[in-house]
Symmetry: C2
Subunit: 437 residues, 2 copies
């Protein structure tokens, strides 16, 4: 007898079928017993009247793996409008001890429960509501890849074990590599630029590692990055256009195809235009200072509160809750960024903000060898270091004007669903305090 | 003026167009100069007659980034059957020093040239022939994902930083994680099994790290793994069927859609049947011993020569160069494998061999909590270790019968194209001697 999955049961009314899954709920009601069985497509309710069958479930806990043969009855009040009657139950794997968390009702995501959420994640993901987060995450990844494939981006897989040269900025994890010091990649930055020389357009979705001793709701020590790089651009604007095209197409698609799941998470309505408003950092500081009375005009970056404020502002004023922040000051540049030729106090670097959070960084790169070497030296880096030597080869032997983005997939999932902490969107988050599960 | 890409130029005969790309070849012929320009779609030949234009290319080396406006002429002898005449050349990025390797002709993959191949990989990937390897790799990844999505597998992203418990077998890299000892994941084994409890069917394509002090043609210290796991299987056979379905569909598709690229690499003809022959390890030892006179009947695994021999044998006898090796001896089992209930001296573990190399391992797992704990203890492992504690939770609270595979993507690409060393199929390979580029 072939297994029937829960969402197909409605096609078998009046017939005897075989179902398999996890015991998801069990309740007694006036001598009757109702159980709910979960499989990968959903749930089905089963009415157990026969005492001999009911006895098989004595002492059997949620999570037990069952195989049931029974008759399908139309039952408008049950999930999926069907019910299985006269079940013959076989307990494949009995769970004899009640689990440490309840998984048949939504798990609290309140900040004081997050540690419990992560500690019991192994079981928590079996919660149907929780599972939706990671199904949406899987779908987001798929939509992103489809968009990039359609736009001729070649997917690459670059090394995560590096010779130790860093991009500057975040801290790195170091380890012994057969007697040499190696570091874990904080991004595929150098490799994606190198690969522009081969394919013009490349992308990667993979892990990146940052030894930031941070416990905020925005940081992880291991993140999933979507990195893209494109060559032969006319200007920085080409990068921003590709970024907004990708973001708009992926987000509208996930809202179209997974609207119900998003609604069950109370995800906010998606308010997006195909072209995103652009503000310089200076403009935002001035607007925010004027609106709130808190003076940020001397800040070199945005404060978290400014990020929230400008997205709210743009949602109301422009009907678009994604915006680009442009013209970051030269003081915060990385050595591989391109200085703004129209204003050498700023860099051709834009951040994409969405729903109050920085989701992606989308700069143009300095592609001229001599300029790059001089920017490295200015930043106190040694161009002869073996981690830079090969990177510089790509420029010495010809790279066209190029730029790209680094997207935090974890943050994207967080904000798409409307969660409050990046760790909620990550299966098994890692931070300074958490190395398990 | 909009940039026209090389493969579209044939639609502009008689018109003036703009092209951009890298100088790929340059040769003088009786007062004339021919150059070849490379872009992401291919190449185009350009005839330079005007001395002033020719002078712009004086001292300009391969790799220089050019922008050219010129007239499109039909020219059956040129690549793409078109040529650009009367070019007006602009050198966007001049390369003034000849590169350390030639990239306008195929790069040798002979074993004594491999170190040069990897040392100059940054430039080597610009070689059109070399680039095909990584385009095919990108496509293989895409086909695999499409197959798995169609079969309801949810893509997961699991942590690469672990608390230190290992699966046994390969060596691990260790490092300091905010004062605790952490290791780099040698596979997503534990996490994919855990996730069967949520989604039944999951997969991941990501890096895995093995501190193997090895320099063979089969090993890397950082590999890309395709990991799949599926629950509610009836028997080990379900895993093998899913494996051969995926392998057959992906390989026939890459041969159909990328036949020309594969031919240019002299990739062997694909000889595959939808269902792969299965031999027990014992059978192979006996067949090989009989055929070659070298006695392997007391080996616990296959020798590299046996792997080659059995694939050749099956290609000739069965018309299928992929085979499963089944019934590995219990001595080589990992603690999470399932002992063969029909023969407790063997394990429900199969290897997929293709063209003489082990490409994937496809075992069934022990899903019963008590058995698993007892197998751990037998293997000398501590079930209380924090790296195992969470893993065991998944079993204690109910996991159905399940199994899956671990595919080496690097090996798959190597054998699909017909390369001789796994490192040739990896963009920037890592082994005991190589940590750069």
């Amino acid at each position: 007898m072939e297994r029937i999955l829960s969402n197909e049961i409605k096609n078998y009314i009046g017939k005897e079928i075989l179902v398999k899954g996890w015991l998801h709920k069990k309740r007694a009601m006036g001598g009757l017993m109702f159980i709910v069985l979960r499989d990968r497509r959903g749930v089905v309710q089963i009415l157990v009247e026969d005492k001999n069958e009911g006895e098989k479930l004595q002492g059997i806990q949620i999570g037990s793996v069952l195989q049931i043969v029974g008759n399908v009855i139309s039952e408008p009040r049950a999930p999926g409008e069907v019910e299985i009657h006269e079940p013959k139950i076989q307990v494949l794997i009995p769970v004899t001890e009640a689990g440490p968390i309840e998984i048949d009702k939504p798990i609290s995501h309140k900040s004081d429960n997050l540690d419990t959420l992560f500690e019991y994640r192994v079981l928590g993901v079996r919660n149907i509501q929780e599972g939706k987060v990671f199904k949406i995450r899987s779908e987001l990844n798929r939509y992103i890849r489809e968009f990039l494939n359609k736009n001729e981006f070649v997917e690459i897989q670059t090394p995560k074990i590096l010779a130790g040269a860093t991009e500057g900025g975040a801290e790195v994890f170091k380890f012994d590599y057969f007697g040499k010091e190696a570091t874990l990649a904080q991004s595929p930055q150098f490799y994606k630029q190198i690969m522009v020389g081969a394919f013009e357009r490349v992308f990667e979705i993979g892990p990146a590692f940052r030894a930031e001793p941070s416990t905020t709701s925005r940081h992880l020590s291991e993140i999933t990055m979507l990195d893209m790089e494109m060559g032969f651009i006319e200007s920085h604007d080409d990068v921003l256009q590709m970024t907004e095209n990708l973001f708009y197409s992926v987000l509208t698609r996930v809202y179209e195809e997974h609207g119900e799941e998003l609604k069950s998470w109370n995800a906010p309505e998606l308010i997006l235009k195909p072209s995103f408003p652009r503000y310089t950092l200076k403009q935002i500081h001035e607007m925010y200072t004027k609106a709130t009375g808190t003076d940020t005009t001397r800040e070199k970056d945005m404060t978290p509160d400014e990020e929230k404020w400008i997205c709210e502002y743009s949602k109301k004023e422009n009907g678009c809750e994604a915006i680009f922040v442009t013209e970051f000051p030269i003081e915060s540049m990385k050595f591989y960024h391109m200085v703004n030729p129209k204003d050498p106090t700023t860099v051709l670097w834009a951040d994409l903000l969405f729903r109050g959070l920085e989701i992606a960084t989308c700069p143009m790169r300095e592609h001229r060898y001599e300029n790059l070497v001089s920017q490295m030296k200015k930043a106190g880096l040694n161009p002869e270091h073996s981690g830079y030597k090969y990177y510089l080869q790509a420029f010495k032997y010809g790279l066209p004007p190029h730029g790209g983005f680094g997207f935090g997939i974890d943050r994207l999932v967080e904000k798409t669903i409307g969660l409050g902490n990046v760790k909620e969107a990550t299966l098994f988050p890692r931070d300074i305090n958490r190395l398990t599960p």
